[in-house]
Assembly symmetry: C2
Homo-oligomer: 206 residues x 2
C-alpha cells in the first residue's frame, strides 16, 4: 500500500505520461514526463523502474479496450461485422495516439505476462473470426488471420503527429483494406486529399 502522497504522484505521472506518449510518442524524455507531472525524475524512477513499466501502466486502459473489442467481435453473431468493428476500433485508437500506435506496431521487449497472454488471445481470436467469416462467404478466399494483423501494421504507417489528419487517413485506409479482404465493397469515406495528405507527410517524425 502506497502512502497517500506517493499514490497522488503516481497518478500525476501516469496522466502526464499518457498525454506526452500520445502526442510525442513513447520515446519522449522521461525527464519531460516528470516535469509535466510536477515531480522529480527520481520519483518517476522509483515508481516505474524502466520505461517499459511506465508504458505498460500508461496503456492498460487501451489494452483492455482492445481485448474487449476482440471479445465483442467474437461474440458478434455476424463475424464480418465483427471484423469491421474490430479493425476500425483498433485502427482509430492507433490514429489518435502516437504512443499506442508504436506499442501496437512493434513488439516491445519485455511484455508483462498479462500482455503476452492478451496478445496470444488476440491472435487466436483473429483466426477464429476469419474462419467464421469465411464460413459465411463474407471474406475473399485466401484471407487469413494475419491479413488482419497486416492491416493494423499498415495503418501504423499513416499516423502522424496530428490526430485529426491521422484519423482521416486511417479511416480511408481501413475502408480500402476492408474492401480488399471482404466479399463486397465497403463505402469509402472522404478522400484524404481534402484535409491534406501533404501536410500529413510533412507532419511525420524525422
Amino acid at each position: 500500500m502506497l502512502r497517500a502522497d506517493a499514490e497522488r504522484n503516481k497518478v500525476r505521472i501516469l496522466t502526464a505520461a499518457r498525454e506526452l506518449f500520445a502526442r510525442d510518442g513513447i520515446d519522449v524524455p522521461l525527464a519531460s514526463i516528470a516535469q509535466q507531472a510536477g515531480v522529480g525524475v527520481a520519483t518517476l524512477y522509483r515508481r516505474f523502474p524502466t520505461r517499459n513499466d511506465l508504458i505498460s501502466a500508461a496503456f492498460v486502459e487501451e489494452s483492455r479496450r482492445c481485448v474487449d473489442v476482440v471479445q465483442r467481435s467474437l461474440d458478434d453473431s455476424d463475424p464480418w461485422h465483427g471484423i469491421c468493428v474490430l479493425v476500425s476500433t483498433v485502427c482509430s485508437m492507433q490514429a489518435v495516439d502516437q504512443g499506442f500506435n508504436r506499442v501496437l506496431a512493434s513488439h516491445l521487449p519485455g511484455l508483462t505476462d498479462d500482455e503476452q497472454s492478451d496478445y496470444l488471445f488476440a491472435l487466436e481470436s483473429l483466426d477464429r473470426l476469419v474462419e467464421a467469416a469465411h464460413a459465411e462467404r463474407r471474406l475473399r478466399p485466401g484471407i487469413t488471420g494475419t491479413d488482419i494483423l497486416l492491416i493494423v501494421l499498415a495503418n501504423s504507417g499513416v499516423v502522424s503527429r496530428d490526430p485529426r489528419r491521422s484519423l482521416a487517413a486511417s479511416r480511408r485506409l481501413v475502408a480500402h483494406l476492408l474492401t480488399a479482404i471482404g466479399a463486397a465493397d465497403v463505402a469509402l469515406p472522404h478522400p484524404v486529399g481534402e484535409t491534406g495528405l501533404d501536410e500529413l507527410l510533412r507532419d511525420r517524425l524525422g
Copy 2:
C-alpha cells in the same frame, strides 16, 4: 575536381552509407558510417556537411528509379497497368531498404531543389495517372491521386529490419490495396503468415 584519394573516400563513404542506411535506417550514427568506410569522421563531414546531404547523395539512384518509373507509367498505354507497376515498384524499393522507406515516408527537412521538383512532378503525375485510369473505368469511383500516396505511406508501416519478410508483407499489402482501388480484383500473393508476420513484428525497431 576532387583529388584522387578524396574521390576514392567519397565513394567508400557512400557505399557504407547505403549499406547502413538500408539495414539500420537513416538514424545510424555517422561515426559508424565513417568507420565502415574506413575513414575518419572529419572526412565524412568534409564531404557531406549535414546528414541530409549524405542521405540525398546516398539515395540519388533510388530517386532516379522512382522518377523513371513514374515517367514510364505515364507513358504506359494502359494507365491501370501503369499504376500497378508504379505502386509495386516503389513499395518493393521501400520494403528492401529501411533508409529509403524513411526517406519516402517522411518529409525530410531541407530537400534539395531537384528533390522538390521530383516530388512535385510525382504528385502531379499521380493525379494524371488516376484521371486516365478513371477515364477507362479501371478505378473504383472516388479514388484520387492521394490514395496512391496513402498506399505508399501504409506500406511504410509494414517494413522491418528483415528485407525478406518485409517484401512478403509489402507484396501482400499492395495486392490488397490495388484490389481496393481497382475496378477488378487483383491476384493475391502468398499470405504473410507463412513467413511469419509475428517475426516481422518482433523485428521492427523499438
